[in-house]
């Protein structure tokens, strides 16, 4: 076997973490926002697929990738608001409705997306951070999409906003103790609906990243469970936006490790590497949810906790 080039491997993992991790980042930020308000929206998987489809369709029809991103966000926001409104009705279980929303979202996206499998839409621009290098590999690894930077900025904004602004405090109050919020004159149902709609918007943008940048085309197998993994990732990140960023990068790298290792010649046990993101999810669940340990940082109103 040929000698193994570790620098190439590390570069591939770094590039993969950013490329594969960006949609995780958006979806997990969206879910973080929703769960901070005390609701769980499992439907983000469906919203991700709708976002990918509508983003691609609008980008193709208008010839502008950014309009596509906007459309994807709006479609995601609309579905998120739908989830928020329905779950505000008495005795509606948000988890059950989330699962329904996965099915609805993927069904809608497959139905309307039929016509857009073939055509090629414009793709989102990226920023060439590696222009200084002569090595094509470095240049390609450091060509980072604009949406990733927007995601990082959003992470910082949310991190600050949740602890230092009135809106953030209201959201956290509603999520931790709805009765107190009601006593203070806030309307938990409205706050939660807005938070779910906002979360849907972000998940839709995450979908647009998939179809408009990486891998960069719309087809029906595009998501393959990434939306659901991002939901698990929020628990891993302990409902902290900053942790969401690290977790998203980690999950991105774990998705990239299988192909990267095989490319450099480490090819035994690639099924194990392919299963790594899922194994990681299980491990995180085990570590954070043992019976003698409560979920620290979990919003008190989550139906998981009640």
């Amino acid at each position: 076997m040929a000698e193994i080039d570790y620098s190439v491997l590390l570069l591939a993992l770094l590039a993969g973490a950013i490329r594969v991790g960006t949609p995780f980042l958006f979806v997990s930020l969206g879910e973080c926002l929703t769960e901070k308000g005390g609701r769980i929206n499992l439907g983000l998987e469906g919203i991700l697929v709708v976002g990918a489809m509508s983003g691609y369709a609008v980008a193709y029809l208008t010839d502008s990738a950014w309009l596509g991103v906007l459309a994807a966000g709006c479609a995601g926001g609309a579905l998120g608001a739908f989830h928020g409104v329905i779950c505000s009705l008495p005795r509606v279980n948000d988890i059950a409705f989330g699962i329904a929303l996965i099915l609805l979202g993927t069904g809608l996206a497959f139905f309307f997306g039929k016509a857009f499998i073939q055509p090629q839409a414009p793709s989102l621009p990226s920023i060439e951070l590696g222009a200084w290098s002569d090595d094509a590999r470095v240049r390609s690894a450091l060509s980072v999409n604009v949406l990733f930077f927007i995601g990082v900025a959003l992470t910082l904004l949310m991190h600050w906003g949740l602890r230092a602004t009135r809106w953030g405090l209201v959201l956290r109050l509603v999520g931790d103790h709805a009765q107190s919020a009601r006593a203070l004159g806030y309307r938990p149902a409205l706050v939660r609906t807005l938070a779910t709609a906002g979360g849907g918007f972000l998940a839709g943008v995450g979908g647009a990243y998939l179809s408009l940048y990486y891998p960069g085309s719309w087809n029906e197998g595009l998501s393959s469970g990434q939306g659901l993994m991002a939901v698990a990732l929020v628990i891993f990140a302990r409902w902290q936006p900053l942790n969401c960023l690290w977790a998203a990068l980690l999950f991105g790298a774990s998705g990239a490790v299988g192909p990267a290792l095989q490319a450099v010649g480490i090819s035994s046990g690639y099924y194990l590497f392919a299963a790594m993101p899922y194994a990681l999810t299980l491990l995180v669940m085990y570590l954070s949810c043992r019976p003698n340990q409560t979920l620290s940082g979990a919003p008190g109103e989550l139906s998981l906790n009640r």
Binding site: P215, N219, G255, V264, S267
Partner: protein, 369 residues
Amino acid sequence: MPILNRRSFIKAAGVLGASAALPVNLARAADKPVTVGFIYVGAKDDFGYNQAHAEAAAIIKGLPNVTVIEEENVPETVAVQRSMEAMIRQDGAQLIFPTSFGYFDPHVIKVARKYPEVRFAHCGGLWQKGVHPDNAGSFFGYIDEGQYLNGVVAGHMSKSKKLGFVAAKPIPQVLRNLNAFTLGARSVDPEITTTVIFTGDWSLPVKEAEAANSLIDQGCDVLTCHVDGPKVLVETAEKRGVMTCGYHASQAALAPKGYLTGAEWNWETPYRAHVMALQSGAPMNNFMRGGLKEGFVKTSPYGPAVSDAAKAAADAVKASMLKCEFSIFTGPIRNNAGEVMVAEGTVLTQTDVVLERMDYLVEGVRGQI
């Protein structure tokens, strides 16, 4: 009762006269209307496996007296049994093409036993006389011939002498393609290696893009694949300025610069044979196999990047394949651990079932099963 007017009388007489003028069996064939059902596992415009089937189905749709019904995104579960029964009972389908490998056992077999008057022509399965019902059958193409030609062209065009292959799962059909591609390339230059990446499933776009990028980072300058939809791989390679060979259908439109050639299915041939047999009432051909010569597979036209030397070399091999003078798996063939798999002097012809059980990677493939 309507009165027979002059116009309809003339029309009827004309039709009678025309059919009398035709040879008897042809007239009968064209007169018998049939309904044919196609079932796809994915979207029928996926630039891949399903598109190859759907393109051929569109040709069948144009045949006289043939009604085509189609259903896509049918999973390889009991759902396909329901689809087939719906086609038979509601649309009166007399011939069904369930096109995905996993449909055969147990689904096609079960429904075929229940409806003995309907024909089931499955793509990819191994129909066996006596074991499986007589109204079912399987057809498949030797697309490794196309992959060998891909390899010859890739071998000529590669500058780094490193090729990349993105594969879904290590099953015999995939390994046969990978090995044929590598043997083709090494027939040009024995220094060439192919790095293989298994993604683990038939359609994982993010993994496929990641695999393509990793291969390109490793210096591979011609990529090909065996996954359901090569679109992602071809687009990723084109973006990074690397050449590709296609698979399943033509992806030339996705990579106007880097697309070299491709191994494509030509399902029209077996489809047409089955429909003709049904219309003429001939018994069903239960086991159909074929390659370039039989018209079951074809190659994409050469892309603009392909050099004249590469074209000439590939055309020469293709010509001898068409004359049945060429065998891809001619001994000695070693696996990539150095053991002899096909002994010197042994020539495996395409119909040899040993090839349908392939479980090794030939010398020159970097990777493990």
